[in-house]
Every structure is written in structure tokens, then in C-alpha cells.
Amino acid sequence: MANPLVETDVIERVLGAARAFGDFAEVFVEDRVTSSATLDQGRIEELSNGRDRGAGIRVVVGETTGFAHTADLSETGLMAAATAAATIAQRGGGGVRRVALGTRVDHARLAEVLPSDVDKATKVAWLRAANDVARSEGAQITQVQVGLGDSSRRFLVANSEGVFASDHQVRTRFMVSCVAQGDTGMQTGYKPFATTRGYEALTDDVVAGAARHAARQALTKLQARPAPSGDLPVVLAGGSGGILFHEACGHGLEADAILKRASVYAGRVGEQVASPLVTLVDDGTVEGEWGYLAIDDEGYAGTRNVLIENGVLTDYMWDLLRARREGRASSGNGRRQSYQHLPMVRMTNTYLMPGTDDADEIVAQTPYGVYVAQLGGGQVNTATGDFVFGMTEAYLIENGVITAPLRDCNLIGNGPETLARVDAVAADFSMTPGTCGKNGQSVPVGTGQATMRLSSVTIGGTAA
């Protein structure tokens, strides 16, 4: 980090002050610069820039974590936060010492073209281009909304166990939403593009592709009929969103839920928890994907962790505190929304390893069912394993052929039961970006999978 957010000796003194009161102390300093631009109804509506800079300090005493944050990065401001965190961790006394830090490990940013390298006129031109492409797809496209956002986030983390690292994460996003008006009402189409690279990743093709995709989806859905109601086989298209695994088991494999016995997967390492076709990985090292991180927000390297191998549960995901309690290493899954938030166990890029089946064959061998081309979000209750996920572009499969488009609805299942019903996995793997919310904090994640089939899932539509 050419220009450190806070000088090393200041960090050492602040960390020393915080550590004096507890078993563990950590200083997290962050400087995030964001910008966004939106187009709606053909107009560039607004450009906005924002900056958030501050530090979060946590002190752990026994099982208690005290946390305070401040936007004041002076030594006085940081000391005040350290004292507050230590005080609320409920232990007085102890002399103030200095924690000696080694050499800071700086991680090279992945992005080549930084947001600040791109002028606003260029960003605006992309918005207009997407609008033109989307509207050219059909006169029934009545509304087009285009958004572009970027964030440049530098952070520094140091803890009393010697971690001292910095990173510079750049994220770039481009989204197109369309509304199509038909005889039976309005339908929507949406396509996001999101990367942990810089503007080198946002090409004219990406922009036009997203616009075309969103517009065509809305137009196609004008012909949509109500989705079925009840249990059917479901084929998920490759890259439609591995949100199924994110919800059906990902959250249930996070160590915070495990240690509190609030997950159906607690105590099941070594057991068969899914079909043998399921090998599930959480992988912070996939460069460029939305959940990529060189280091997590506790300073630990992003890692590739195999969670389920051939259907057998192999491990959970860990942040530092949960790992310390179990006497093991963090798996690089400690993440936080900003310096104002405590880190917790979060996924990065979660994906199903591709299989060997042929995607077209999977559809052809499904006499009647639902083909999901794009998934929306989802939600899970980790304690019961019950989860839902939404389909935002789907079709009927009749006699092994993809036919009529279906209206949006949720699908519902129970994690372990649904994972046992994976009966085909193809080789056409790809990933989708998403935003994961947990306990009020949002972080970017990737999900991925190849075309696959579930022998039966409950479709929450309205048609008999």
C-alpha cells in the first residue's frame, strides 16, 4: 500500500491499547470510494459519488466481543475507539503495551483499470448504449433502467496474533432492467454483470449482451403462463445461479450456525448429506468472480475449501473467532460489509463441481418438468434446512423439449432432502454474481453450477 491508511506505529500503539484489556484485539481500517450512475426512461438521471472511511476495533475477552468504530482515523480517534471496545468487552486493568507488528503483507490488486481512470462521460456512454440496445429488441419494451457502479476499497487489518495485511479490492457492476408491456400486463427482465476486476472487464460486448439479455427475458415472459403448483423434476441451466447450493447447504455449513447447533448439518462431517454427484466448493481464489478475495476482512488468505465431496460432508467454513475456538485455522471466510460491522462467517464463491452429463441430454431425458434459465435470490432457515429460491426465467419441459415460458415464482425444498435428489450434472459450468444478506450485512458472492437436474422439487406456482 503506497499510501498507508494509518501509519504502522500508530496501529501498533492502538492495537496494544486494545490488546491490554483482552485476549485478542484487531484494528480494521477501511477507505472505500464508490460511484454510481443511473439511466431511466432514456435520461441520465443521476451520477453519485460516495466515500466512507473509518476504523472498526474489536476486543475479545473470553467469549465476549466488544466492538467500536469511528470515522476519525487520527491516533486520538483510534485510541478512543480502542478504549471503547475494550471497555465494553468488560474488563478493566492491564497495562498498555505496544503490540509489535512484523512487515505488512500488501496484496496486489487484481484490477487494471481503476474507477478513477475512467471518465464520467465514458460511463454515461455505456448507459446510453445499453438503453439503445434494449429498446431495439422490441417495441413492447416500455421501460429500461441501466445502472453502473464501482467501488475501490482499500483496507488494512492488524491483530494481536501478528496478522498485518492490506488489500485493495476493486469491484465493477453493470445492471440492466427492462419492463415489457403486453396484453396481459407487465413483465420484467434483469441481467447483472459484476466482477472484482476493474473497468478492463466492462467491454462494449458485455454492455450490449446484458441489455439484450434483459430485454429478451422481459419480452419472452409476456407469453408466460402461470407456473405449476406441486412437485416436479427441475432442470437448472448452467450458470442460472448456484443459489440453490448457496441456500440449500451453504449457509448451513457456516461455522457460526454449526457451533450453535443451529444447522441441520451440525455434527455430520463424514456423513453422506447429498447425492454422490454433489461436490461443493467454496472458493475465494477464483480471480475476477464476484466473491473473489485475496485476503478476507480478517487478513487471512482466500482459500479453496471443499465442503462436500461426492456427497460426503468434508468441512465447514470458518472465520477467525470460530476457528480459534476449535483450535484450527481460519478458512478465509471472515467477511464484513464495512468497517462499521463485525466480521462473521460468510461464503465467497460457492459452486458445484461440473459433472460429465450432456446438458441437452438432461433436458431430453426429462418427460415433464420445469427448466430454469435464471434464478433470483433465495432464503434459508439453517436450523430446519427449509429453503426457497426464486426463478425469474423458466420454461416448461414437455416430452423432453423446452416449451412455454412460465411466470415468476419460488421453489421450496429442504436442504438435505433436495441435495439427495440431484440426479444429473452436466459439464457446461458457469458462475453468476449475487449479493448475500446475513444478519443485516450484505457482501458480494459468486455462485456457480453446470446444468443439473433435481428429480423433484416443489414449484410454488398457481397452475394445477
Binding site: 443521476e46 460516495g50 466515500r51 466492538f67 421501460q143
Partner: protein
């Protein structure tokens, strides 16, 4: 307000400036197994700035924000906002709000006792909440978290075209998630109490809610697929009403994203349905004296006896629709620009309590939790499909528990299919209050 006024003085030429300053203090306590697991106390502050310049073909706006009030950050935001104006498209309807003479309700929504209550007392509330839930029923095998949180927030909004508004609000919450077990499977129940100050929290009610909701779900099975009456409890009914609120936004209407567009004066709901957005009712947790542009909040009747009466507008959407603001600008903190939306929705209560509604319904499904609201409801097309847990209604009473089931319809159909609105208005955090709400003919997907 002084700092906001000072910033307005930096306006150059014919620039209009709007400044929104906000600062807050919050406390979060999470308790686990009788001791504090996490404790956060923090103060934060920030500024959102919008600059508007009028031209021949209309006005243009640029914005910027900073998560601190230090001079350098604020000056930088001002420069960025000014620069951003250049890239916007001129829009004849774009304007900042002008004072419209409507007096604010003058409610006191901030209670000093949030700050005055000792931290130890707040911790004690969360500890006691967890203890009561654990001790309340032997089938409760775990309390995943018991939490106390509170906040005090104050803000000031001022513009060079004469708007000045002060905001001050406080809140305190208790929440708890219980996991009950019958030895073979687990079920969860969430309990909540919300108030403006800690003294008014109902710890017993939050504990009881978590215990009852988790234990009564034990042994839940999947019902068969059918169409039936669905009775939403006040909490889930509030969620449904909040979703509906999106379509009542004048902004969604003028942008062609509401299925209500062009339907003013038409019957869009059953006659039992009257929907009011009333931020001037201090009982609503979302009550506010001023909207997100600094105009006085006011009571707006949106659906009356089933007839669509009005939409809620901010300044720009109102101008686009050829009307005036209804004082309904909402903004998501310092980083968000104003947009039109309902703030404090409530349905006019009916005359029946929940027992009477269940008795009248006879057979159906009672729903007490929803999942997948953001993934299965499309507020533009109106498609509605959510995961639910609840209890079957048998012979007019709550029967066996059910889970892993969805209910589906369209928002348009659901409004017309409302058969009962309860008398049990329940004030909840968020955009909408709720009552027991019975809706006929939803598709239930199960086994």
C-alpha cells in the same frame, strides 16, 4: 442545522443545493448462554449533497455523500456533486421541493432515555430474554441469539430554495430466535418487541412469541397441493402490505412500473380494504414529521373501500404526473436520493378479532412466517409466490402445523380476494403495520 445552512452558502451562480446531514448513536447487544457474545456501541455521521442546475430544457442534478462530517470530506462531496451535474440529462420535471405551507405534525419521536439507560440495564434485558425463552418450555433446545438494540438518530435537511427540516427519532428492540426440538426435528420461532424507548419494550411478549411459534411447529408436515383461504397473521400481513406499497408509489406509476397505473377511481380491492399511508400517526414506528425532501408528512388515503383513490408522490414524480407532492419522499440515508414511496402504511381495521376470523373461515391455512419475499414476489407484474410455515385451520380453529409449502397468487387477485381484515392492528417496525388478513383462493403447493 447550522452546518447545513453554512454549506448552502457555498452555492455558486444559479446552483441550487440541498444538504442532508445525519448523525446517530447505536447500541447492539447479543447474548448467548447467559453472557454477552457481542457488544457494539458506535456513533456515526454523514452528509448527502445534491446540486441542481436549471437549463433551457429543464434541470439537471448531481449528488455525492460522505460517511463523515469532517471538512475535507464534505468539501470533496460538494465538488463531486457539482461535477456530476454536468453528465445528467436535462429534465423539465426535475426540481427540489419548495415549502408548500403544510405544517408538520410536531410529534416527539425521540426519547432521551435511550441514551440515558445504562448499558448494563440494556445487557440485562437481553440476558433475561434469553433466560426466559430457554426456561419457558423444555422443548426449546437452543436460543441462537437474543439481542437488544437501540438507536437515536437526528438529521437536518436544508436547501437553497427554502426548505428546512429537522429529524429526530429513537427506537429500541428486543429480538430472539428459539429452536425447539421434539427429538427428531427442529423448528424455529422468532420473537420481537419494538418501542421508542427501552422501558416500553415487552420482554414477556417477545419471549412468549418465540416459544409459541417454535414449539407449535413441531411435527410439521407438508400439506397436499390445493387452493384455499389463507389467513396471514399480523406480522406476515404487514409484509404483504409493504410489498403492495411499492405499487402505490407515484414514482412507480409515472415510470410505468406499477400495475395500478391508470386505474385511479377503479375498484382494485374487496370493499373491506382501506389502505392509508399515515406517517403522522405516532403509533407507527415509521412515523415522521418530515419526508425525505423536508416537506411535512401527511395522511394519504390510497385505497378506500376497495377503490383506488391516490398514489404517494415526491416533488419530481408529482410534477411528472401533473400534481403536487403528497409529502412522501423517502430516502435511504445519506447515500440515497429521494424517491416517492409510502412510509407508514396501515389498513383500516375490521371488526373481527383473529379467533372470529378463523371461525368464519372454517377450513384453510394460517400463515405465521414468510420466506423468499424478495425472490418470489414481482411488484411490477404482481406475481406473488412465497414459502410459508403455519398451521392448518380445521373447524374454525388452528390445527396441525405445516412447513415446506408455498402460497401463490398475484397481488392484483389477492387484493380482490380479501375476505376479512382483523381488528387487531399490530404496530411493527418497517413500512407497514399489520392485522390478521384472510385472503381467499390462494394456490398452496405442497406434496
Amino acid at each position: 442545522m447550522e452546518q447545513a445552512r453554512r454549506l448552502l452558502e457555498s452555492a455558486r451562480g444559479d446552483e441550487q443545493i440541498e444538504v442532508y446531514l445525519s448523525r446517530g448513536v447505536d447500541t447492539d447487544v447479543e447474548v448467548y448462554e447467559g453472557s454477552v457474545e457481542k457488544l457494539t456501541t458506535a456513533a456515526s455521521a454523514g452528509v448527502g449533497i445534491r446540486i441542481l442546475v436549471e437549463g433551457a430544457g429543464g434541470a439537471r442534478v448531481g449528488s455525492a455523500w460522505a460517511g463523515s462530517l469532517d471538512e475535507e470530506a464534505v468539501a470533496d462531496a460538494l465538488d463531486q456533486a457539482r461535477d456530476n451535474v454536468r453528465f445528467a440529462t436535462e429534465d423539465e420535471y426535475l426540481a427540489f421541493a419548495r415549502p408548500d405551507g403544510v405544517a408538520p405534525a410536531g410529534m416527539s419521536l425521540r426519547d432521551e432515555s435511550v441514551l440515558a439507560t445504562p448499558l448494563d440495564d440494556k445487557i440485562a434485558l437481553a440476558v433475561e430474554l434469553e433466560r426466559r425463552v430457554r426456561a419457558g418450555d423444555p422443548r426449546v433446545r437452543q436460543v441462537e441469539s437474543a439481542a437488544y438494540s437501540d438507536y437515536v438518530i437526528e438529521g437536518a435537511l436544508a436547501s437553497t430554495v427554502g426548505v428546512e427540516a429537522n429529524y429526530a427519532r429513537s427506537g429500541a428492540y428486543l429480538s430472539v430466535e428459539a429452536i425447539a426440538s421434539d427429538g427428531t426435528s427442529d423448528q424455529t420461532g422468532y420473537g420481537l418487541s419494538a418501542a421508542r424507548r427501552p422501558q416500553d419494550l415487552d420482554l414477556g411478549a417477545a419471549a412468549t412469541d418465540a416459544i409459541i411459534r417454535s414449539t407449535r411447529m413441531l411435527g410439521a408436515t407438508r400439506p397436499s397441493t390445493r387452493r384455499t383461504v389463507v389467513v396471514f397473521d399480523p406480522r406476515t400481513a404487514a409484509t404483504v402490505l409493504a410489498i403492495l406499497g411499492g405499487a402505490l408509489s407515484g414514482e412507480a406509476v409515472v415510470r410505468g412500473r406499477s400495475f395500478f397505473a391508470g386505474r385511479l377511481g377503479e375498484v382494485v380491492a374487496a370493499s373491506a380494504v382501506t389502505v392509508v399511508d399515515d406517517p403522522t400517526d405516532a403509533r407507527h414506528f415509521a412515523a415522521s414529521n418530515f419526508d425525505g425532501e423536508g416537506l411535512a408528512c401527511r395522511r394519504n388515503v390510497l385505497i378506500e373501500g376497495g377503490e383506488l383513490r391516490a398514489f404517494v408522490y415526491d416533488t419530481v414524480s408529482a410534477r411528472r404526473a401533473g400534481t403536487t407532492s403528497t409529502g412522501s419522499a423517502v430516502r435511504a440515508g445519506i447515500a440515497g436520493s429521494p424517491s416517492a414511496g409510502p412510509r407508514a402504511l396501515v389498513m383500516s381495521p375490521g371488526i373481527d378479532n383473529q379467533e372470529e376470523i378463523l371461525a368464519a373461515v372454517g377450513e384453510g391455512l394460517y400463515v405465521d412466517s414468510l420466506t423468499g419475499v424478495h425472490s418470489g414476489v414481482n411488484p411490477i407484474s404482481g406475481d406473488f409466490s412465497v414459502g410459508v410455515t403455519g398451521l392448518m385451520i380445521r373447524d374454525g380453529q388452528l390445527g396441525e402445523p405445516v412447513r415446506e409449502v408455498t402460497v401463490a397468487s398475484t397481488l392484483q387477485r389477492m387484493l380482490l380476494d380479501v375476505v376479512h381484515v382483523g381488528a387487531d392492528t399490530t404496530w411493527l417496525p418497517g413500512v407497514a403495520a399489520g392485522q390478521t388478513l384472510a385472503i381467499a383462493d390462494l394456490a398452496v403447493s405442497g406434496s
